[in-house]
Symmetry: C2
């Protein structure tokens, strides 16, 4: 770790990344390599000596990194990259990068601290608490979710980890009440449109697979979970002695951005003593705009709420924001406190009295209310170690500000509306579900109403478009129909990119329809 | 995301980080702030507009980031940072940063892809497979752990996640055999010196707390797990109808770098049909040196092996390398396959026949053996999304090479030996357990053999040293004794830093002993 070498390497890498963004449209969005391509390009073993060792001897440090970039990164890695930052990326959901997010990530990597407890780097814990309070206020979350009370926010790596930790908190909370042998009786509820991470979390937590109720949501509710169906199912489960304990609702499902009716669902959860989690991983970002905030109405009934700042909020991956009303439930499920991590300054969520015992000297002057000032985030998550991820979110919020972020969201939604209008003008296509945010679900209509051919046709259309490399879209299946997903949300996307992608879709559709006649 | 703004911001941030490393010794290693310090320095809410908006209007982009660094990062964040990269950092275990690791992390943040499946960015999956094969060879892991067979390596965020996913794989494997209602009968074994992440993993996986056997390890074995004790305990558990299914051994425990006897333990695990996991999170790095490799002897009996490249192997946090012999066990425990993530090119560990069905056209020419060429890492881990973490490990291995990495490790071990010798020359101190790698466990001897006073004395010594800000050490408890840990491993540490820390320890000891007379 030589500071001047870091400077030289760092500058060259910054230039490479800046140039990458300038030329990003020259690459096929979806990587066109075949499986195993890289195995043929790299040696079987790591080098004993750095292969450009001569350069270091000669003091040509800058030359070394330039050659590495040219010979290795450009020649071998970039062909295998699917360019999530391309303006022509419309697949899955976006993974936003921004200048503020990028330099925040750089700073985190530069300091390279491991913030498992407050003392391991106080700024890491405290900035995270503060910035998640900021974001909670931007989303107008109920005050119970703020860190001043019994709740608070935490940055998880992904929404998968967010739903896992709250499921564990809920599981252990109910098992403390009914006895740990009741695990096999616990039941989880959600719609079948819920992200697969819920099912994975249930697998991990040992919930019996048949007790993971993924209730069918249909086009009649635009794929939202029906409160009546939920109530009925819970009643049936109670009748046979099962224990409903967890409900997961979604604001903006992955397939089609369906919005579950939080208020009705939350009341059902509450009346049955269940934990109510709201997954707004994608659409949460839109809810910083007043005109979209109503999709979150009912969040006041929730025990936990999650949105991914790394999806559509200009914060580089990974940054999944999770808030809970009762942080002690998380801590009870996830804490361990081995001697080698203890520290006199290690503040935690223990009662103030215990906390005082761990402090001494000058710190004993702290008043009791301050015992809630800091937490140990290791007990809010699965891993022990954690990066200083709040830096990038803080820089995004500070360097862009709420109004710019709202404009950013609105622009993508406007572009999605524009795409929707383009589809409406071509009778060969249909929009399948109402567009709510920046995802458009559509398909090429089957010829002669032959639905099975329609599925094949749209699959072929997807492949045809993606193999051009000029745009990347993905798909889903709704009510048995193969549907194309056009998700606007890459930071560089402008109207011209939407138009160009639509042109490719139309052209490929024309070819496919001609072939199938 | 403006490429030229990224360039300007990026260059300024590189300079800031390089300057930080040049001046890192000027900061107190352990942050000296009090809990809640940052709340007083930051506003209660995020700004509606970026507070330096005027600068952007004026086109003074570079000025904006410089002001942000000065007013916010330097003034508010740095005082709350505990400097893990300081050469005077000797606490916990190290968290290595290096030039190669840093620029690798930068590149990962720049590309900002989410590599959950092969197709989401083929290079991310393939480079990870290849680089973990490289590292496996450097560690001389058995061939079963390489990706060419049924095994392979994966980068997890932390060792906590590594032990969790293999515990889940083992749990579900045994439950498939004996029925899922047997969860309450499953028993996990390890020494009480095992990292707390095992206990946390058991909590998460629903293993009954009383079935998590943390067998007492004593000074008689230098805190290694006794195979006889293990055998006896397993026999007793079998007698009462329990099901032993998981054994975790450690090479280099967190408290004192104890090394469990892998070969004997592994044979016991095998004869009882248990999953055998080896946690070498810290000491694994040392095993790339031939003279230390014998500490891993017996790893051929293991089902899984873990080492943290982010601890002591110059790879910025996070990068925890996990290898398994049977990747299908992981996939069976952790896979979900929703429609919206499916892709014609999505290769996975399904039988070759199924795999072929997912491919079409030009790819159908692939021969069956190639079906094993790529994997979908989402099914090897808890989260769905994942960063392109192999880049930084690849750059470390390529830009430094094995020989330099070996020198790096040896130098730290030499410095730890040096510290050990310094202690030996001062009769007021003792080395408590034999030093094996780069951690020295020692203490100030109690006055008049008063052990309870000895604990207080060493606690006071720790606080006295750490509050100077000139060095940061941590502690543990072994056999009821409060022990100081001196972990050499920060990349910038040289002999002069070890000497200086020793001087502070001696001076503070002199004062404390004078006070206690």
């Amino acid at each position: 770790m030589d500071a001047e070498q870091l400077r030289e390497y760092g500058h060259k890498m910054v230039d490479f990344i800046a140039d990458y963004y300038k030329t990003i449209e020259n690459f096929p969005v979806l990587s066109q390599v075949e499986p195993g391509y890289l195995r043929n390009l790299l040696p079987d073993s790591a080098p004993n000596q750095p292969d450009s060792f001569q350069h270091v001897l000669d003091g040509e440090v800058a030359q070394l990194i330039l050659e590495f970039i040219r010979l290795h990164i450009q020649a071998k890695i970039l062909p295998g990259v699917t360019h999530w930052q391309s303006p022509n990326y419309f697949a899955y959901y976006p993974s936003n990068s921004s200048v503020a997010g990028f330099v925040g990530e750089m700073l985190s990597a530069g300091l390279n601290i491991v913030g498992f407890s407050w003392i391991a780097s106080p700024a890491a814990t405290e900035l995270e608490m503060i910035v998640l309070d900021w974001l909670a206020k931007m989303l107008k979350l109920p005050e119970d979710f703020l860190s001043a009370g019994q709740g608070g926010g935490v940055i998880q790596g992904t929404a998968s980890e967010a739903v896992l930790v709250v499921l564990l908190a809920a599981r252990d909370k109910v098992l403390r009440r009914v006895g740990k042998d009741a695990l096999e009786k616990l039941v989880v509820y959600a719609s079948d449109q819920t992200h697969s991470s819920l099912q994975k979390a249930c697998q991990i937590a040992g919930i019996h697979p048949e007790n993971c109720r993924l209730l069918k949501a249909t086009s009649s509710t635009n794929y939202a979970l029906s409160p009546e169906f939920l109530s009925e199912t819970i009643s049936q489960d109670l009748t046979i002695g099962l224990i409903p304990f967890f409900l997961c609702a979604t604001v903006g499902t992955t397939s089609s951005t369906a919005v579950d009716p939080l208020l009705s669902l939350g009341k059902i959860a509450k009346s049955n003593g269940m934990w109510f989690h709201v997954d707004a991983a994608y659409a949460g970002s839109a809810c910083v705009c007043p005109e979209f905030r109503h999709y979150m109405d009912g969040v006041e009934e929730a025990d936990s709420f999650n949105m991914n700042a790394h999806k559509w909020f200009l914060t580089n991956f990974d940054c999944s924001a999770l808030w809970v009303k009762d942080r002690s439930a998380l801590v009870q499920a996830l804490s361990t406190n081995p001697e080698y991590l203890k520290n006199k300054k290690m503040a935690d969520s223990k009662p103030a009295k215990t906390w005082f015992l761990m402090y001494s000297g000058k710190l004993a002057k702290l008043v009791a209310s301050q015992a809630n000032m800091v937490v140990d985030y290791k007990d809010w998550q699965v891993p022990l170690g954690r990066r200083f991820r709040s830096l990038k979110l803080w820089m995004v919020l500070r360097l862009y500000g709420l109004e710019n972020l709202q404009c950013y969201i609105r622009n993508h939604i406007k572009l999605a509306k524009h795409f929707e209008n383009l589809i409406a003008q071509d009778p060969r296509f249909e929009v399948v579900t109402p567009r709510i945010f920046s995802l458009v679900c559509f398909r090429l209509l089957p010829v002669r109403n032959n639905e099975s051919h329609g599925n094949k046709l749209n699959h072929q259309l997807l492949d045809a478009v993606n193999s051009t490399g000029s745009a990347f879209i993905s798909h889903t299946v709704l009510s048995g129909k193969y549907i194309l997903r056009f998700a606007v949300g890459a930071p560089l996307t402008e109207e011209k990119h939407v138009n160009a992608a639509w042109k490719v879709l139309q052209d490929k559709a024309t070819s496919l329809l001609a072939e199938s006649l």
